[in-house]
Subunit: 269 residues, 2 copies
């Protein structure tokens, strides 16, 4: 049997009818499939995306009010940070390259590529997407000797000394639990975006935004534009008023109510 | 940028420590990734698997009591069928080839390969896995002119005249909503295995087993062994006592309670 995937290459983008109930979700799925063939996304990244699709379905594929609150607290924390860094993996670069670059610019934050699967040419493929989106300075390219986070042994420990290693606040859209824990242990304030409010990442981060990055990053750009010129005292109040534990509970409650409503709906049919 | 995926080929199977909280789930994920390089599984199949992982997580990655009841009703229906057929796609062949073949044998059911993405050599790759697992007679290979189901326009309509086309009861592990609806419209009794009790497939099928096929197919083999020699009147009672609507509600209620318990647990930490 041939190990060559070439004839699977055109399987990413069948014609998705616009009236398909899940057309947008399928569009992004096929975008990721296409970018797997460009090495930006890994096969495991496709599975991880599918997990996200399912959890997004439990939110009704919409941004819920507690996520809006968490975004505000996140932007406030990033605006007050001394050295904010946005960690970007293959799926993030594939899904929201323009918005990530815009967000980094408005926050004056560094972008650092952090990937687990180190295939040859992969960093370059991700970096090329970010550059096309307008990124000027990208860290994590391996152009200077890397540093290691403590409390983690896998290659997820590797960080850029100019980036995450010396950051005080790190935004991790789509992060692994081990790495989130290590970032916390290394004294960083961690802001996670995770559709599963029960994941280790969601539970361990300082601020968790339970939302799909496709909706969330553009909204964070707008929030940043709205609050970046506030006095720092007012920005501090936003952070002070945010309660991570309560916010996660609110998200879970939202999901539970959503399921209960769906159950009643199917019963009244 | 090279379109060649060769250097992603060994990314499927990093060493998963046995004490990883999700070791078994990761094992199956990497099995699917490996089989994508053999053309058995498609990139989109990896996304679909990820969706399943998430819904399985909401069951605590275990077979729940209503799923056991649905399995009994499913086996009873397949035993009383005149012409039972098991529909197999790439993910099913990748995950549980041996169990599917064993189940077909004990039920005297046909196995028919039904795939949406028709890459060259793909049917052969799936068929080869099933043959290795001991399947003697496999339908859906395109060796005779196919028939079309009505009420569906995509290539999901294509079926084997000796198989699904003339079947009265069809078991569809991991099926698409459009195709499930078409099977129902074509007068088949449809038994679905679907981890999402709210999916169109789950909602439209006559009997839905909300479980992971990895746990479910081996259990169905055991149930078949246990009840296959009962008098047909007793088998009819099992079918009669099964209430699909109530069973789906029980599954949803289980998930809602599971989430509520997890919320309380994280709150008492």
């Amino acid at each position: 049997m041939s190990k060559n995937l070439n004839n699977q290459k055109n399987l990413g983008n069948p014609n998705i009818p616009n009236d398909h109930p899940r057309a947008q979700s399928l569009h992004y799925r096929h975008k990721l499939v296409d970018l797997m063939f460009e090495k930006v996304v890994t096969p495991s990244g496709l599975c991880a995306h599918g997990r996200g699709e399912a959890f997004d379905y439990l939110l009704g594929e919409q941004t819920i009010p507690p996520a809006e609150n968490a975004m505000e607290a996140a932007i406030a924390s990033l605006l007050l940070a001394k050295h904010p860094v946005i960690s970007v993996n293959g799926n993030v670069a594939a899904l929201v390259p323009d918005d990530i670059v815009e967000l980094a610019e408005i926050l004056n934050a560094d972008i650092e590529i952090n990937i687990f699967y180190q295939a040859q040419g992969r960093i370059e493929a991700i970096s090329s997407i970010l550059k096309k989106a307008g990124a000027k300075n990208i860290l994590g390219l391996g152009d200077i000797p890397p540093k290691s986070l403590s409390h983690i042994s896998s290659n997820r420990r590797i960080v850029d000394p100019r980036g995450i290693y010396s950051a005080d606040v790190v935004l991790v859209p789509l992060e692994d639990g081990d790495r989130t824990e290590a970032l916390i242990e290394n004294g960083k304030k961690v802001i996670a975006i995770d559709l599963n409010p029960l994941s280790r990442t969601a539970q361990k981060a300082n601020i968790t935004i339970v939302d799909n990055i496709i909706r969330c990053i553009p909204r964070m750009v707008k929030i940043a534009e709205r609050i970046k010129n506030l006095e720092s005292e007012k920005i501090k109040v936003i952070i002070h008023n945010f309660n991570q534990k309560k916010n996660l509970d609110d998200c879970l409650e939202y999901i539970i109510n959503f399921l209960q409503n769906l159950m009643e709906k199917t019963n009244s049919k």
